[in-house]
Assembly symmetry: C2
Homo-oligomer: 336 residues x 2
């Protein structure tokens, strides 16, 4: 399978390293013979139909530039060339999803399968992109867009086969969970936020996390998967954690409860806001963990807890999609 | 798809009700056109190649007997007759897995697919049964044998595609978790056990639960799925919760820990025994909940929490397997 990777940030480079180290295993175990024929960072695209030398690409990226590579090409050559699948890993943009939306549209329209770990394009126009993929008869997978390596999407779409999901609710942003956990331990919002920034959980501009937009973007994706609700970011009611305050956190604790930034969807209503939950709830997970509770019609409430982020973890989710794509294309009725 | 159901206890009857109520939905949504051609309880087998009247069967069972049914048959006719799949739901027997092992062997050997929610035959000879299914080119599914409606097996086998599971550990018996939760709240083991019996969590003879054998049986199944370890019950080191004592439970609490009956497997070692875990661990779930932590090579620790039992919930797991069987047999590369 020929792949091009656009975006060589933390996840893109982790993916290249995994492919380099585990290529043989992926081939022997799943029949996935992956050949990376193109890569692009924000400045340079490189393409070679025979397959690129991954070690060389990684070494060039360590020095900061792909500029010296002999096989420079245009992004259009990468996307519309001889590749089977576009792996889209550019930075997240929750405003208009660009440039990822454009790359994904171009690839799907050119009959290429697409894998992304980028919630931006999905938050902004997931229903349209799904339709475009279906129209062109190609697969569009995005395991890594929610929860890093924790398979929240796959859990919702696969594990509860045969019964209806009634509602989903959970903590799908690790930064705010870390801050709220530290506030439980007595730190002010400001101090907890600074600590989260120091630990690399929060960005210099923390608004996407603390104001709830990162959660909302992931909720859009989960809601579309669970309910085929056809929603985008504008359908979500969003409130962040800035105004909770230490007094409320303490008051909750005295009552056996704790504040969490909860994302909720039942297919009709979609909201992200701080809520009190019982200290005994399986959703009461600590630190930067994520937790999603799926309520199924018959088998009831099921909660999946895991790390919600990480470059290598997200790369593992992309590999999961590559293996799944391989299995789907084999079309031999074998389901993994 | 023609099915026979052997075993009309809580799960079997719940399954018949689900098929009756949701038959239309299963057909329209998944293309699963289920026809129940045979049923059997511990005394009587009934068979009709044209399909049985489910309402009539349920009504007869309410009165306690199938004896009056006009279409009485032998179990062999049910198993080797015109059915596509045997749904095996007889009572659990952890000693030798009988009579379930015999029914399953007969069906697999006759080229029938088998679905079971019975951990007995799997605990006793899962590797041999898997081999027999493969040899005969038929499917053998058992979602409902672990965790009631919570898809622990499916999570382990499907959700972490593309990476290696390193170890699994968790609470896979609700009765002991309920007892330990109540002991945390100050009750003695004996009182907590009585309460669990009153609530219907524990049997009159509680030894399968409190001595760890129920957990061990489920661990065998999960370990075989996660690691293809080829184990049976005799490979598991088992210790129950009778000897923990209130003092130890209190001591653990003072140190920010709690006792849980933990089942563990890394593919080499397989054990069930009481262990102290942190109160902050995602495995610290209360009451009769189950929780399984799967540690994957790259994406790390992931914990799935849910109810571990229930007739209707387990019936939902059997339906999940029926839908999966339908999808596999369609063999059109569509994976659900």
């Amino acid at each position: 399978m020929k792949a091009v990777i656009i975006g060589l940030g933390t996840v893109g480079r982790a993916l290249l390293r995994e492919v380099q180290e585990r290529g043989h295993e992926l081939k022997s175990k799943y029949g996935l013979n992956l050949k990376v024929v193109g890569v692009a960072d924000s400045k340079t695209a490189v393409y070679n139909e025979e397959g690129l030398n991954i070690a060389e690409i990684l070494k060039m990226k360590e020095r900061g530039i792909l500029n010296d590579h002999p096989n420079r090409a245009s992004l259009t050559e990468l996307i519309k060339g001889g590749t089977d699948v576009l792996v889209e890993l550019t930075p997240t943009n929750l405003k208009d999803g660009m440039p990822a939306v454009r790359y994904i549209r171009e690839a799907l329209s050119a009959g290429k399968h697409v894998i992304t770990a980028n919630k931006g394009p999905l938050a902004v126009e997931m229903p349209a992109l799904m339709e475009l993929a279906e129209y062109n008869g190609v697969h569009f997978l995005f395991s890594g867009a929610v929860g890093g390596g924790t398979p929240f999407i796959r859990f919702v779409s696969r594990c509860l086969l045969g019964e209806r999901v009634i509602r989903i609710r959970g903590i799908i942003n690790g930064t705010t969970n870390y801050i709220l956990t530290r506030m439980e331990e007595g730190l002010s919002f400001e101090k907890a936020l600074k600590e989260a920034q120091k630990l690399g959980y929060a960005e210099a501009d923390p608004s996407a996390d603390v104001d709830g937009w990162d959660s909302a973007a992931k909720l859009v994706i989960l809601s579309n998967v669970a309910f085929q609700s056809g929603v985008t970011l504008r359908d979500v009611e969003v409130e962040g954690i800035r105004d909770i305050g230490l007094e409320n956190v303490s008051d909750a604790l005295r009552n056996g409860e704790t504040y969490k930034l909860i994302a909720y969807s039942d297919g009709e209503s979609h909201l992200v806001k701080p809520q009190r939950i019982s200290l005994k709830s399986p959703l009461n997970v600590k630190g930067a963990l994520n937790a999603l509770q799926v309520e199924a019609e018959i088998s009831g409430k099921q909660t999946l807890v895991g790390k919600g982020a990480g470059g290598r973890e997200t790369a593992a989710a992309v590999i999961r999609d590559l293996v799944e794509l391989k299995v789907r294309l084999a079309g031999d009725g074998r389901c993994l």
